[in-house]
C-alpha cells in the first residue's frame, strides 16, 4: 500500500466565498486517490481546523485571512498533484466566467454603481466581522440593504437601523435569510407568485414556509420584508418592523399583512400592535413562543404555528371561517399510519431527534413537541434514555468554517447516520428547505444517510421512523414533487407542514394518548 501524502498550496490574496469553496472541495474529493480535501481561507480558526485534520503544512500555517489554502491528503503524490492542478483549472474557469463581460469586476461600491446605474439595493453576505462597515457605506450612499450576514454585534445593528430609519431606507437584517421585493427573490427564497399578502418577518425559513403554503393555495406575495431575528427585541425597538409596516400599509397591492417572529418585548409589542391597528389592514401574526395561543381580535389574528398563519391569512382574505387543525389528512389515515409505524418499534424506543437546517423550523418543532411530550433538549449530546432533542444545525456552533446546512448537508448527513445506532430513538424528525440559494438536491443529499440509518436500526432488530416536511413550491428549481418522492423512496413519512411533521413524530413516540389528544381534542 502506498504511503499517504499531504500537499498544500497557498494562493495569496485570493478571496473566495464559502459556497465556491464548497463546490471546489466537492469536485476535488471526487478525484481518484484523493482522501481528504480542505479548501478554505487562511483565517486563524480555519488554520486550527487544518491542524485538527493533520493538513496544516508549514505553507498553510503561514497563510493569512485573505489567502486561499488548498490542502489535499491523497494516497500518492501523483493523485495530490492531480487534485491541485484540477483546483487551478476550477479557479481559472471561475475567473474567466466572472470577467466574461471583458470588464474587471468592481471592488468598491462606488465602482459597482457605475457598472449598474440606478442600483437601489445592496445584498451583503460577507463574513460578519466586515458586514457592518459595508452596510454603513451602502446606507450612506442612499441604497437599501439586505444584510444576510450574521454575527453582527447588537450595538452595530441598532446604530445601522437608526441610520437607515433616518434616511427612510430598508435595512433588512442582519441575519436576514429571505426577502422578496417586487417579485424578486433575494437570498434563500422560494418561487412564489406575486399577490396581495405583505410580510414582515424576523425569520427567513418561517417566511419561506408561510409563503410556500400560501402559494399552494393560490395566494401570492406583494412584498416580503425580512427584519432579522432581533428587530423586535427591547434594544432594537422594532425599528425596521415599524418602517416595513408603514411601507406595506401604504402599498396598494398589499391587502393583508403577515408578521412572523418570536414574541416581541412588551414595549415593542405595544408599538407594533398600535401601528398594525392604525394601518387598517387585516393582519395575521405568528409569534413562535411558549404559551402563545390562537386569538382573534376582529381582523387581527394571532396564531401559534407557521401553517396556521397561512391558513388564517387565506381565510381572512376569502372571508371564510378558520380553526387550527392538527393534521390535514383524515384522522383515520393518521391513526392507521402511526399504528403501522409503532408496530416496527421495539419496547425501549421512545425518543424523538429533530435534526434541522432551518432555525425557526427547529424552534417551531420544539414548541409543538414540548406541551405533548415534555422537555426537549436543543443540543446534540445524548441525554438520558428517551430524551427528546431538536437541534438547529444552522446555529453558529455548527457553521464555523462551514457553509449553512441548507447549502451543505455533510454535517446533517453524519448526524442522521448516527441515529441508526441509537437504541432508544423512535423518530428522526427533519426539514428539507427548497428554493433559490438552497442546495440543488437537498433531499438527495440526505436520503442515503436516512437509508443507511434505517438499515442499521433494522439490522439490530428495531425500526426507525423518519418524518419530515418539505418547504418549497412546485416552481422551485428543485421541484417540490421530486424532492418529496426522493424522501418517500427512502422510507420517510412526508407531511404537508413542519408543525404536522412534529405532531406526527409526537404520535409515533407517544402512542395512543397523544393520538387521542391531537385527533379528538382538536377536531372532535
Amino acid at each position: 500500500m502506498n504511503p499517504q501524502t499531504v500537499r498544500a498550496v497557498v494562493k495569496r490574496s485570493t478571496y473566495q466565498d464559502s459556497v465556491v469553496l464548497l463546490a471546489l472541495a466537492r469536485q476535488l474529493r471526487a478525484g481518484t486517490g484523493v482522501l481528504e480535501v480542505a479548501a478554505l481561507m487562511g483565517t486563524p480558526s480555519n488554520r486550527d481546523l487544518l491542524a485538527q485534520s493533520g493538513l496544516l503544512t508549514p505553507e498553510a500555517a503561514a497563510a493569512g485571512a485573505n489567502d486561499l489554502v488548498l490542502a489535499i491528503r491523497a494516497n500518492s503524490a501523483v493523485a495530490a498533484e492531480g487534485a491541485l492542478s484540477q483546483a487551478e483549472t476550477f479557479l481559472m474557469a471561475k475567473q474567466r466566467r466572472l470577467e466574461g463581460t471583458g470588464r474587471p469586476l468592481p471592488r468598491t461600491l462606488e465602482r459597482a454603481r457605475r457598472h449598474l446605474p440606478d442600483a437601489n439595493l445592496v445584498l451583503i453576505s460577507v463574513p460578519g466581522a466586515f458586514a457592518a462597515m459595508e452596510t454603513r457605506k451602502a446606507l450612506r450612499m442612499g441604497l437599501h440593504v439586505m444584510l444576510f450576514s450574521d454575527n453582527v454585534p447588537l450595538e452595530e445593528e441598532v446604530a445601522l437601523k437608526q441610520l437607515a430609519a433616518n434616511k427612510g431606507l430598508l435595512l433588512m437584517g442582519p441575519d436576514c435569510g429571505t426577502a422578496i421585493l417586487n417579485g424578486v427573490p433575494l437570498g434563500f427564497a422560494n418561487a412564489v407568485p406575486r399577490g396581495r399578502i405583505g410580510f414582515v418577518a424576523a425569520s427567513g425559513t418561517g417566511l419561506q414556509h408561510v409563503a410556500s403554503l400560501l402559494a399552494a393555495q393560490g395566494e401570492g406575495v406583494s412584498q416580503a420584508i425580512g427584519v432579522g431575528g432581533r428587530d423586535m427585541t427591547e434594544r432594537v425597538e422594532g425599528l425596521m418592523t415599524l418602517q416595513a409596516l408603514d411601507a406595506l400599509g401604504a402599498d396598494p397591492s398589499t391587502e393583508l399583512l403577515v408578521v412572523i417572529g418570536k414574541p416581541p418585548a412588551p414595549a415593542v409589542r405595544e408599538h407594533v400592535e398600535a401601528r398594525l391597528h392604525a394601518l387598517g389592514k387585516p393582519c395575521v401574526a405568528v409569534l413562535l413562543g411558549k404559551g402563545v395561543d390562537a386569538r382573534s381580535d376582529g381582523t387581527f389574528l394571532t396564531v401559534a404555528t407557521l401553517e396556521d398563519a397561512a391558513a388564517a391569512a387565506v381565510a381572512l382574505l376569502r372571508r371564510e371561517a378558520w380553526r387550527p387543525r392538527a393534521f390535514r389528512a383524515p384522522q383515520a389515515e393518521i391513526r392507521r399510519r402511526v399504528q403501522e409505524v409503532r408496530q416496527t418499534l421495539a419496547s425501549g424506543q421512545r425518543a424523538i431527534r429533530g435534526l434541522f437546517a432551518g432555525g425557526t423550523l427547529a424552534h417551531e418543532a420544539a414548541l409543538v413537541l414540548e406541551p405533548l411530550l415534555g422537555p426537549v433538549a436543543t443540543h446534540l449530546a445524548p441525554g438520558s434514555v428517551g430524551t427528546h432533542s431538536v437541534v438547529d444545525l444552522g446555529a453558529d456552533e455548527f457553521t464555523v468554517g462551514r457553509p449553512h446546512p441548507m447549502l451543505d448537508a455533510t454535517v446533517r448527513a453524519e448526524e442522521i447516520r448516527k441515529a441508526g445506532q441509537m437504541p432508544d430513538l423512535a423518530v428522526l424528525l427533519l426539514d428539507v428547505v427548497l428554493g433559490y440559494g438552497a442546495a440543488p438536491d437537498p433531499a438527495g443529499d440526505i436520503a442515503p444517510a436516512i437509508e443507511s440509518a434505517r438499515a442499521e436500526a433494522m439490522a439490530c432488530g428495531r425500526g426507525l421512523s423518519v418524518v419530515a416536511s418539505v418547504i418549497g413550491t412546485a416552481e422551485d428549481p428543485q421541484g417540490l414533487a421530486r424532492q418529496i418522492a426522493r424522501l418517500e423512496a427512502a422510507g420517510v413519512w412526508v407531511l404537508p407542514s413542519n408543525a404536522q411533521a412534529a405532531r406526527a413524530a409526537a404520535c409515533i413516540a407517544g402512542g395512543e394518548p397523544i393520538l387521542r389528544l391531537l385527533l379528538d381534542a382538536r377536531e372532535g
Binding site: 478571496y15 459556497v19 493569512g64 468592481p106 445584498l123 401604504a250
Partner: protein, 63 residues
C-alpha cells in the same frame, strides 16, 4: 419612509457583495445585478478594518 414605497414601484437593481451564488440566481431570473469582487479589508484583520473604517468616517465628517 417614502424611499421604501418608491422602491416598491422601481425595478430592483442589485449590487451583490459576498456569496456569488446570490448574484447567479438573480442573473438567471434576468434581474439586473452586479457582483463585486469583494475581499476582506485590512488583510482580513477585523480590528484593523474597523479602525480604518472609523478613520474614514472621521474624514468624511470633517470634509
Amino acid at each position: 419612509m417614502s424611499a421604501i414605497t418608491d422602491l416598491f414601484s422601481q425595478e430592483i437593481r442589485v449590487i451583490n457583495l459576498g456569496l456569488e451564488v446570490f448574484a447567479q440566481n438573480l442573473e438567471r431570473l434576468c434581474v439586473p445585478v452586479i457582483h463585486m469582487q469583494w475581499s476582506p479589508p485590512a488583510g482580513g484583520d477585523p480590528h484593523r478594518a474597523a479602525l480604518l473604517a472609523a478613520l474614514a468616517d472621521e474624514d468624511e465628517e470633517e470634509a
